[in-house]
Subunit: 453 residues, 2 copies
C-alpha cells in the first residue's frame, strides 16, 4: 500500500503544529511543508522584542529549525516554496521555488495555514523606510535598519496591540515615537477606561498619540530623507521611518480560488474538526475564522495561541485522528510599557452588537495587599443583564492583570453567571492578591445591579 | 415593633464580615459584636509580614477600627468581651468583660465566629520565649521580642505554610532558623515534588529543616537562657525562642456546650446558608467546617478568604436575607522566600482517600517566554482516571504560580474534565506566559495517559 501524503501550506505556528501532530498520530505518513519564506516555526509574538533588542538574535525566536523537522520528525520542509494554486479535483498543488518552473505536488490530505497579511494597503507602503512586524523577515529588516541607521523618529500607523508593543520597543532604543490611529482610541475591543489608562501610559513615556488620524499616504520625506505620512484631512508628519501596524487580514486567495468557502468574516470557514468546505482539505491559524464561544458566532481573531491549537487539531484529523476545537473566548494580553493589559470575552460594544443586553462595572482594586506595595488594578466586568451570564472581563495595571484574566476566561468557557463568580475559591496570600479578589468584588457589584440594588 | 438584635461572637474576618453584611441588609437591626481580644478586623494573613518588619506597624493590618464600625456602620463592637456560654432555649449569651461579673445578653439571631486556636498543646508552650502567630496580639508579642532582644536563633515547630512564612520573616531579620516537622515533609497537602522544591529553597536560604521530628516538650534553656525543645526519640535543640506553627483547630467549646452539632472534622457543622443545627444560630470562619466541592465532603480548611465569604453569607441570612455558600475547592497560595507555591483541589493522597482513582502528571515548564527571562515553573495536574474529572493542580516557581492556579480553581468549580482543559483560551504574551500554558500542556499529557498513550 502506498503511503498517504499530507501537504501543509505555511510553516509558522499553525502549519508546523499540524505537521508535528500529524507525525505523532501517523508515523508512516509522508509530510511535506511548503513555506514561501525562509523561516519556519518562530514565535511571532516575540517579534517586538527582537526589534527592541531584548531578544538579541532572530534565532532565539525560532522554536525548531528545518533540520530538526527533517531529521527528528521526518517532515520534508521546503523553504521558499510558494503554493500558487490548488486543484482539489485532482488533489494537486502548484508550487514555485525561487522563480523556477511551477511543479505539481500531489496530496492526499492538505492543511492550509497561509496566515495573515498586513491589513491596510496604503500608497507608499512599498517605500524602503516603511516597515511592518508581521513576519520574522519583516522584523529582521526593521531591526537591521534600526541597528544600522540609528534613526531618531518613527511614526507607527495603527494603535493595535502590535503597534503599541513596537512603540515600546522603539522608545527603549531611544527613538521618538508618534502613533497615528484612525479611530478615537487605542486598542479596539477594549473598554474606554482601559484604553484611556493605556493612553496615559503612552503619554507618560513621551509617545505622541494622534487619534481620529487615518493615514492616507506615505511619501519620501523632504530632500529624499525619511518619510512623510499624510493623515486626517490634510495633516502630515515626518519621521525617519514608518511602521504599519494596522492589523492583519486573512490570506485566503489560494483557498478561495480553489473553491473553499469563506465565512462572513472573510476568513476561511472551518468546522470544529478544522475541515474546510472542500473534501480532505483542512485549514488552521490566521487564515481561518474561529468560533467565539461567548457570542456563538464565527469571528476573526488571529492569535498565536489559537493558531497552535487549531494546527494541532487539523494535523490530528488530517492524519486520520478525530480531534475537535470548539473555539475561543477572545482572550488577549499585552504589555505596554509598565502596564499589563488583558481582556477576555466581549467588550460592551461587541456584546451590544451580538444582541446581548450588557451590564458593566468598573472597579479600582489592587494587585496584592496594599501594605506590601500592591499596585492599582482596574477591572471591568461585563455581563448579560437578563441572564446574568458573564460576557467579558478586562484588566489593566502595573502587575497582576495578564494571568488574572485567565480565571475569567475559564468562567466564560464554563458559561458561568455573575452569581457563580461570587464565591470562586481563588488563591490569596498578601504578596499575590487581596482577600477579596477584584473579580469577586466586581461580581458582587454585578449581582447587586442585577437585583436593582 | 422592637428592633431585632444580632449578636456576633468574634470580631476578626468572619465576624466583622457578618456584622457588616447584616448592617447592609437591614439598616434597623441592632448589631453587637463580642470580641474577647483587643483587636478586630485585621488581616491575619499579613501577620508574618509584621514579624519580618515589612509591615512596620500593626495598625497597617487593621482594615477598619472599632470606631469606624461604631460610627459608620452603627455596629456595637465590644472589645475584651468573652462569651462564656450560650443558652439557645432562652436566646441568651453569658459574657465576661475584664473579669467582671458575667452579664447576660439577649439575641434574636446569633453568628458564631470564634475562629481557630493553635493545634498542638505541647508541654512548655506557656513559657515566655514561646510564641505563635495565630492572632494580632500574638504576632505583636513576637515582634516586640524580636525588636527588643534581637535574638540570634529560633526554632519553628511545624512546617505548615504559616511556619514557613514565619521562617522567611525571621531569616529576613538575620535570625538563624531551624524547623521541626513531625511528618516526612513540609506543607502537608502538597505533592512530593512541590514539597521537595520548597525544602531545597529552605536549604538554599540556610534554614535547617528536621523532618520526622515531632516536638515533645519545651523547657527553659541552660542557665535560664532561651529554650530547649525535645523532639523525636531523645533529640534536643536550643534556641533563643520557639514559634508554634503546628496548624489550627476550630474553637468549638462554646458551640458544642450549647448543643450545636459538630461535623466529623470536629468543626461546627453548617449548611450552605451557614446555619448551625440550632435555630437562629449561624457560624462562619475558622470554627466551622466547609464543603469541599471536589470531594463532595465537609472538610476543615481554615483560610481568611473563606472566612470572609462565609461571614458575609451568615450575616446576610441572619439579617433576613437568603444567601448561600456552596463551598471551596481547596485553593491555597504562599510565598516561601523566592518561591511562589500554590495549589487547588485535592492532592493525589487526598484523592485516593476520597475514593477517586487519581492519575497525575508532573510537568516542568516556564513562567513566561524563555527568551525574555522566563523562570522554571513546575506543575502537577491530578485527575480521576475513569471520569477524566480534574481533581487538583499544584504549581511552584519563582514567579507566576500563585495567580496561575486560579484558572485551575475555576475549572474545578465548573467540574471540568482534563479534555475540557485542552483548548482553554488563556492569555498569552511573551512577558507573561508561554504559547502553550503549562496547564494546557499538562492536560494534553493527561488526555494521552487516559487513552493509554
Amino acid at each position: 500500500m502506498p503511503t498517504e501524503r499530507l501537504v501543509v501550506i505555511g510553516g509558522v505556528a499553525a502549519g508546523m503544529s499540524a505537521a508535528s501532530r500529524a507525525r505523532k498520530i501517523n508515523p508512516r505518513l509522508e509530510i511535506i511543508v511548503l513555506e514561501k519564506g525562509r523561516d519556519i516555526s518562530y514565535g511571532a509574538c516575540g517579534l517586538p522584542f527582537l526589534i527592541s533588542g531584548q531578544v538579541a538574535r532572530p534565532e532565539e525566536l525560532v522554536v525548531y529549525t528545518p533540520e530538526f523537522f527533517r531529521e527528528e520528525r521526518k517532515i520534508d520542509v521546503r523553504l521558499e516554496h510558494e503554493a500558487t494554486e490548488i486543484e482539489p479535483g485532482r488533489k494537486l498543488i502548484r508550487a514555485l521555488h525561487r522563480g523556477s518552473q511551477p511543479v505539481d505536488i500531489h496530496y492526499d490530505k492538505l492543511v492550509i495555514a497561509t496566515g495573515g497579511a498586513p491589513a491596510l494597503s496604503i500608497p507608499g507602503a512599498e517605500l524602503p523606510n516603511v516597515f511592518n512586524c508581521n513576519s520574522l523577515a519583516a522584523a529582521i529588516r526593521l531591526r537591521r535598519f534600526l541597528d544600522d541607521k540609528n534613526p531618531g523618529q518613527a511614526i507607527i500607523i495603527g494603535a493595535s496591540y502590535i503597534g503599541l508593543e513596537c512603540a515600546e520597543a522603539m522608545v527603549a532604543r531611544g527613538i521618538k515615537v508618534s502613533i497615528l490611529e484612525r479611530s478615537a482610541s487605542v486598542l479596539g475591543g477594549f473598554e474606554p477606561e482601559i484604553a484611556r489608562r493605556v493612553q496615559q501610559g503612552l503619554s507618560d513615556r513621551g509617545v505622541r498619540l494622534h487619534t481620529d488620524a487615518e493615514a492616507t499616504a506615505i511619501a519620501a520625506g523632504p530632500a529624499g530623507q525619511g518619510i512623510t505620512v499624510q493623515y486626517g484631512s490634510g495633516s502630515a508628519a515626518q519621521a525617519d521611518l514608518a511602521l504599519l501596524a494596522t492589523g492583519v487580514v486573512p490570506q485566503t486567495t489560494l483557498a478561495q480560488t480553489a473553491g473553499m468557502r469563506l465565512g462572513a468574516t472573510g476568513a476561511i470557514a472551518v468546522d470544529d474538526r478544522m475541515q474546510t468546505s472542500v473534501n480532505s482539505v483542512y485549514a488552521a491559524g490566521d487564515c481561518t475564522e474561529v468560533m467565539h464561544l461567548v457570542s456563538g458566532k464565527p469571528t476573526y481573531f488571529p492569535l498565536g495561541t489559537t493558531a497552535n491549537k487549531q494546527g494541532r487539531v487539523a494535523g490530528e484529523n488530517a492524519a486520520g485522528g478525530n480531534a475537535r476545537f470548539d473555539g475561543i473566548v477572545g482572550t488577549l494580553a499585552t504589555k505596554v510599557f509598565d502596564l499589563e493589559v488583558a481582556k477576555t470575552g466581549l467588550s460592551t460594544q461587541q456584546a451590544l452588537a451580538d444582541g446581548f443586553q450588557p451590564g458593566r462595572v468598573v472597579l479600582e482594586s489592587y494587585s496584592h495587599a496594599k501594605y506590601l506595595g500592591g499596585k492599582p488594578l482596574s477591572v471591568v466586568l461585563i455581563w448579560d443583564q437578563p441572564s446574568g451570564r458573564v460576557l467579558g472581563c478586562q484588566m489593566i495595571g502595573e502587575e497582576g492583570a495578564a494571568k488574572r484574566v485567565d480565571a475569567a476566561a475559564v468562567a466564560l468557557h464554563a458559561r458561568m453567571r455573575v452569581e457563580d463568580l461570587l464565591h470562586l475559591d481563588l488563591s490569596y496570600a498578601p504578596p499575590f492578591g487581596t482577600v477579596w479578589e477584584p473579580l469577586l468584588i466586581a461580581a458582587h457589584e454585578a449581582v447587586k445591579r442585577r437585583r436593582g440594588g
